[in-house]
């Protein structure tokens, strides 16, 4: 309990708000790194997921690859990549992108797969092109699940991004490593609390987005069914 109070004091200590190790700077670095990683992972995983979801092709491959990706220990991968490209932020970007790809990929293709086939057949029957089906039907209907995938990737990345500090003077992980190695446990716990707060804030933002991206038609039809029952 004492340690918890000490770590909160550490977070509030004005000394930790100046210089190159200031809390706001570390928070921004951490967030920037997380957002960039999610963008890179999305750029790879979303088009691939849409392709798989729309065509139904390559699903087995995607499932096994993303399953294997999930099983890779991130610190081991980080070390392995750093041994070939050197220290700095490059290796953490690669390692965490690989961590973020599976949930986003799964969110993208399950979002498409979860759509009632009759809806898509109806869209095709009224003369929509494949491109129009993807953009006008599958994308909006699959969006909540896709956002869900990005949300779970974001949670993993923001907590694992502390590893970026393993090889660079970067992010909230700095407090964890310095605190651990110099036995300054208030700093270590303070850093952890900041990571937790960031993760919770991000969760809140994504939960809100997820609620708002549900197409209006889907919501109202669902609620009507409930009322009939």
């Amino acid at each position: 309990m004492n340690l918890l109070i000490e770590s909160i004091q550490w977070i509030l200590d004005p000394q930790n708000y100046v210089g190159g190790n200031a809390i706001p700077l570390r928070v921004l670095e951490h967030l920037g790194f997380t957002v960039a990683t999610l963008l890179i992972a999305s750029a790879v995983a979303i088009p691939a997921g849409f392709f798989i979801g729309h065509t139904g092709r390559g699903r087995g491959l995607a499932v096994s690859i993303s399953g294997a990706f999930r099983a890779i220990p991130t610190l081991g991968l980080l070390t392995l990549v750093a041994l070939s490209i050197g220290i700095g932020l490059g290796a953490p970007y690669v390692a965490l992108t690989i961590l973020a790809i599976p949930p986003i990929l799964a969110g993208a293709y399950t979002g498409f797969e979860a759509i009632d086939r009759r809806t898509i057949d109806a869209a095709r029957a009224v003369g929509m092109s494949e491109g129009q089906i993807v953009r006008g039907v599958e994308l909006p209907l699959g969006l909540p699940l896709l956002i869900g995938g990005i949300r779970s990737a974001a949670l993993q990345v923001i907590s694992t991004a502390t590893l970026a500090a393993y090889l660079a003077d970067f992010g909230l992980g700095r407090y964890l490593f310095t605190g651990l190695k110099t036995r300054d446990y208030a700093e270590m716990l303070g850093g952890s609390i900041l990571v937790i707060l960031l993760a919770l804030a991000l969760e809140g933002i994504f939960a809100t987005i997820q609620r708002f991206v549900v197409p209006r038609g889907v919501v109202s039809s669902r609620s009507r069914v409930v009322r009939v029952r």
Partner: protein, 307 residues
């Protein structure tokens, strides 16, 4: 199934007891004279910390003792110093390969430090009752400021002070705690006037990533243990430390009073043969060739031909 296992266990037990008696026989010449007070018949407990290099040393000392007719009970991989120090003090361990400077600092946090001999004498003074130090080996496993060979050649670097002649500011790398250690970057500036550009954390304790960063030129100096197998490849230079910025950490067996003169002689003979290069070579065999401590120890003892 159980009976078969038990039978096998019993057989193993008989063989083991037989081997013990045979070994004791080698030493005393009379296998039945176990209660004659000859400590050669006693079992010596040899321990090591959970550090691969320390385990190799413990294995070497164990095998040397066994060759000399002593019975050895191996209790290896007992965590970190915080964990096993109380065991040593309580007398549960008879032989432990230790490192002079680190043990001194663990027993006496305000120790003054100094040269290898000074640290050894200081350590003798603070060692708990019932424990003794045998001769120290030349081999040491200590902190060092290390540069890449290319960098050392470019600026003709030999000792830490010569870093001051490097025209550009120097980037320091290593575990985060290094930044605030008494031998850290700020001391380099204060003592020698070395210009420091900054500190890059590389949290693998002087491991392969630190070596890679040195060779890539991402950092210019790093803290790497002098017995690290990375030195075996010859691409690194540990800068001399004439002012003893770092505590010398020579290998030294800490022993209980169960270790008699004969055993002490054996251990001293081994320590005398443990040069700095030997330790690096032994560590390289473990890290690079993935050999077991057991095999490394047997091979080295055969090669060194001490007994």
């Amino acid at each position: 199934m159980f009976t078969a296992n038990k039978g096998r266990l019993a057989l193993f037990g008989v063989v083991a007891v037989g081997a013990v008696i045979a070994l004791a026989g080698c030493a005393t010449g009379d296998p039945l004279a176990t209660d004659s007070g000859d400590s050669a018949g006693e079992t010596l407990v040899v321990s090591s910390s959970n550090y691969y290099s320390n385990e190799i040393l413990a294995e070497i000392y164990s095998q040397a003792l066994e060759e000399g007719g002593y019975t050895v009970d191996r209790q290896f991989k007992i965590g970190e110093r915080e964990v096993y120090l109380s065991d040593i003090e309580a007398g549960g361990i008879d032989v432990f390969p230790e490192y002079t400077g680190s043990l001194l600092q663990a027993l006496e946090p305000d120790a003054a430090g100094g040269s290898a001999d000074e640290v050894y004498t200081e350590l003798e003074g603070v060692l708990p009752d019932g424990l003794a130090l045998l001769d120290r080996a030349e081999a040491s496993d200590q902190n060092s400021w290390t540069v890449s060979k290319d960098f050392a050649e470019q600026y003709d670097l030999t000792d830490i002070a010569s870093l001051a002649s490097v025209p550009e500011p120097i980037q320091v790398g290593g575990n985060s705690e290094l930044e605030s250690r008494p031998y850290g970057p700020s001391t380099l500036t204060e003592m020698y006037g070395i210009a420091i550009a900054g500190f890059t954390p590389v949290e693998d304790g002087g491991g392969p990533l630190t070596v890679k960063a040195l060779q890539d030129g991402d950092i210019q100096i790093a803290n790497i243990y002098t017995a690290s197998p990375a030195f075996a490849e010859g691409n690194l230079v540990a800068l001399d430390d004439p002012d003893n910025l770092f505590f010398p950490d020579n290998v030294v067996p800490v022993v209980s009073d169960k270790v008699d003169e004969g055993a002490a002689d054996i251990l001293n003979t081994v320590s005398a043969a443990l040069s700095a290069d030997v330790l690096v070579e032994l560590n390289a065999k473990s890290s690079n060739d993935q050999e077991s401590a057991d095999k490394i120890a047997t091979d080295w003892l055969a090669e060194a031909n001490l007994f």
